[in-house]
Symmetry: C2
Subunit: 153 residues, 2 copies
DNA sequence: CGCAATTCAATTGCGCACAATCTAATTACG
DNA sequence: CGTAATTAGATTGTGCGCAATTGAATTGCG
């Protein structure tokens, strides 16, 4: 017990735990920051992410959205039904490949894009660091994610 | 439409979206990396986080664990019952303040600490960056979280 | 002391996440 | 051609995450 930070095992475990907590906490802080901003739009955070992908490119199959966000049909199917219920998207089977369900924006869903600009601005302020800081953080997180997913083959 | 990255609004929105995706993806990549490592221990990722806090300090009330992890009783109550079911923790009312339920490690729960050292090592490898990189990332994430939570008062 | 306000956990309800399973449609291959 | 393998999406079941409510215990204040 006389060795403290000297013990590499113990140090790694502590650091691992701290990194756990940090990622976990930051992700939740993010969703909590978004929640009140998205409430007026009637969107949850995952729903907002789906809408962003559709604003970037309309009329995508469920699979494409899932690949973009790393979500499977078990998550997206009910989520998209709720967006359909809200009148923001339409779901129709692809004529050429009837296995696919293509998700497209309704007029209302497309309109929402404009109201969402305020959300991004508010987040920009909340993140606090300048643009360079945000860019750097984004790139680090992307790199971290790639290392993690690569490590799992 | 002729202005592209020049448009500050549009740039902020895109960056905001990218930071969203990055945090979201990194957090999920983390849990996915942990999942196969924790499966032999019979723990989920949030359960692992709870166990870490108990390994750091045993016999804590639910509230203290919740403060440490940013979780409320709605999440912790059923989670702790499952840990109790697994025989890893015990739940007993505090004699001095019967509102509190103190969570303590069982012998089995304490033992698990040793098996968990392998998990931390594997994660250290998967994170890929050296110790300095991990430390830097941890500090950035902690700072980000603090800015986000502070922004929401 | 006695009552109101506060605190701690538990519960309920909704919405993700994800594994496993299922159905239907498409593609590949002998 | 026809069957096997693959692919897309839906469904089911388990486990978070959180808001809102409830109930019991404690604290604060007149």
């Amino acid at each position: 017990m006389q060795k403290k930070a000297r013990d590499p095992d113990n140090f790694e475990i502590k650091l691992d735990a701290q990194l756990c907590f940090a990622i976990y906490g930051a992700a939740h802080a993010f969703t909590r920051t978004y929640k009140p901003l998205l409430e007026p739009l009637g969107l949850t955070y995952p729903q907002y992410l789906v809408m962003i992908t559709l604003w970037e490119e309309d009329d995508q199959p469920v699979k494409a959205i899932g690949d973009r966000l790393g979500l499977d049909s078990g998550t997206l199917s009910p989520l998209l039904k709720r967006l359909e219920q809200s009148g923001l998207v339409a779901r129709k089977r692809d004529r050429d490949d009837e296995r696919q369900v293509r998700i497209s924006l309704t007029a209302k869903g497309d309109e929402l894009r404009h109201q969402a600009t305020g959300v991004a601005e508010a987040i920009g302020k909340a993140v606090g660091c300048g643009l360079e800081g945000a860019v750097a953080l984004r790139d680090e997180l992307i790199a971290l994610k790639q290392r993690l997913t690569k490590a799992g083959e």
